[in-house]
Chain length 361, copies 2
């Protein structure tokens, strides 16, 4: 059987609790398929700051480098909020991880499970039957990383500045990811830009149009980012794959995720060229409920499923996990965040949800 | 009596139709108050392109310069969509107007009128009783205008780039606008930035905090733009005044507007230092219904009301217009876009809505 190395970075807040369930599901995958997962735990975020002095310690980077994939929990909390932004758990861990490992393609599904439409703040008629949008965000370029960036001058003469920049190859490779994903889904890509104002967007649009020619079976449309922020609210079902540069993707993927009403259900993948990737829940570390054993582990478990699929090529096992999650939802299992007290629902804690998913596997 | 000069730029699509009603309401204001409005019509947008060769003709600029305020309709339509972005009606007219007249403060109220909550795609329980958010967007700085900006290189070596830049005085003056507005409303300012990633945002936050000290009666909070895009969907009522730099304001003001479900109701003001300003509906030119006399003139009429208030200091007249609009809504008058076929509603066309508002005045 194959052996895969996984760097396990539980992080802060509910991270360790939900990670524990994901790892138990991983055990079940080992038992069912002919595969071994060698796991090495490492500190990240607030746990990194507290135990090793920084959000992304060197030991953690080295453990990740020696692994085939990173399974990431969540980071951050009030304890570290007064640190300078650069040193805070979120920014201090995530941005360097993305850069060091070249995680240029961020995949964030925003899915409403039909049984959970009640959790959305959108009206029933807008989301009847659920929706399924995949936001593909460029993650290592644009205004996040380009230079120059800084604050110059003294006192009232200061100016703060950032640079949004994209090269053709950067746009090409993320566009391929979007079209390849669309091919396996609804066959539609909506590319987001602000080409009426930004030069980087003019290039973005032109390159996307060029790459689209290689995918005649996939429909390409373009939308300005301001309009996209509106259209997501108005009629999310119009979208299949949404392709965005880094900052627009940050904003729109969060908006789309919140529209589902169940952040605790949404996984994400951040992929490098080749098979390396980092997998993390879309929601935060939820410090308010940490340590109580009541957090929803589904996003972490589905993130682990994405790891099986994208880094280890275990499509069947990933599908089995998706199906097990769908099944326990149909059976009425609900952690507190998705409990609506309807007939047939059963309130469970983190571990019981893990048990149910393992049983369904 | 006073005499004010108004540049009237109806533009394209439904622009001329809704403008006609706003001007009839302006007649009613003249009749009621001791004031004269000298109006000069000028081409803008597609009408500018068709009649004078560009989206913002020189004659139009000169007419605006000779006026005390600009009343703007809406621009754009399929006819001009294949032009280069720079020459298109929206970008080609709006960005130069903002720059030439120093319209640095964009005020965009996102209001759900209690009688129109049904139009929102948000659930009744999320918006019960309506909500009232005022987005204040910096409009002449940031990534829209800063240099360098362009595309360099050849073929696959090309890079596209833009610069996001803010100076201290630019941040200070828009922050004053936000705090002064908040003082007259809910006394809360939420400043939006991405200070965990952008240097311009680090400066933005620092300057906002400094100015806030002059307004101890107003509560200041900060939110990252991605979180704001989520929070607007989750619970819009948590916001009073939202303060944004140019691009974040573009995105969030559109999202907030769409959350109300009735774009045809929302006015906007773009103010210069002093009393000069430009006033325009938030919605677009709606070419699909243009020429049929069925468009909703309320956004245009409320925009005119903002002109009376901000450029001419006629607060009473502006309030009277707001009240007249509220009254006709209570009376059940509905143009097609806000008609829900409920008991007491009466479907009217553009002109009948204008008549009703004039009668209510
Ligand atoms: C923490 C922050 C730097 C990060 C981002 O903006 O990318 C986060 O919002 C995300 O989306 O993962
Ligand atoms: C047309 C475009 C340049 C403009 C902008 O982005 O500012 C528009 O979206 C707006 O918000 O007025």
């Amino acid at each position: 059987g194959k052996v895969f190395k996984v760097a396990v970075l539980p992080g802060d807040g509910i991270g360790p609790e939900v990670m524990a369930e994901a790892l138990r599901v991983l055990d079940a995958v080992e038992a069912k398929y002919d595969v071994k997962f060698e796991r090495t735990h490492a500190n990240v975020g607030g746990a990194g700051i507290d135990n090793e002095g920084k959000a992304l310690p060197e030991t953690t980077v080295n453990i990740c480098k020696a692994s085939d994939a990173i399974l990431f929990g969540s980071v951050g909390g009030p304890k570290w909020e007064s640190l300078p932004p650069d040193e805070q758990p979120e920014r201090g861990a995530l941005l360097p991880l993305r850069k060091i490992f070249g995680l240029y393609a961020n995949l964030r599904p925003a899915i409403i499970f039909p049984s959970l439409t009640g959790a959305s703040s959108l009206k029933e008629e807008v989301i009847a039957g659920g929706f399924n949008v995949l936001v593909i965000r460029e993650l290592t370029g644009g205004i996040y990383f380009a230079q120059p960036k800084g604050i110059e001058g003294e006192g009232r003469d200061r100016v703060g500045f950032d640079t949004m920049r994209y090269s053709v190859p950067e746009i090409e490779r993320i566009t391929h990811v979007a079209f390849q994903a669309a091919r396996k889904r609804g066959k539609k890509v909506c590319s987001i830009d602000k080409a009426n104002v930004l030069s980087s967007s003019v290039l973005w649009r032109e390159v996307v149009i060029g790459i689209a020619k290689e995918y005649p079976d996939v429909e390409l449309t373009h939308m300005y980012v301001d309009n996209a922020a509106m259209q997501l609210v108005r009629w999310p079902k119009q979208f299949d794959v949404i392709l965005c540069e880094n900052m627009f993707g940050d904003i729109l993927s969060d908006e789309a995720a919140m529209l589902t009403g169940s952040l605790g259900m949404l996984p994400s993948a951040s992929l490098a060229e080749g098979t390396f990737g980092m997998y993390e829940p879309s929601g935060g570390s939820a410090p308010d409920i940490a340590g109580q054993g009541i957090a929803n582990p589904i996003a972490q478990i589905l993130s682990m499923g994405m790891m099986l699929k994208f880094s280890f090529g275990m499509v069947d096992a990933a599908d089995a996990i998706d199906n097990a999650v769908a099944k326990v939802l149909d059976q009425g299992f609900r952690t507190r965040d998705i409990f609506q007290d309807k007939p047939g629902e059963r309130l469970v804690n983190t571990k019981e949800m893990g048990d149910a998913i393992i049983a369904a596997l």
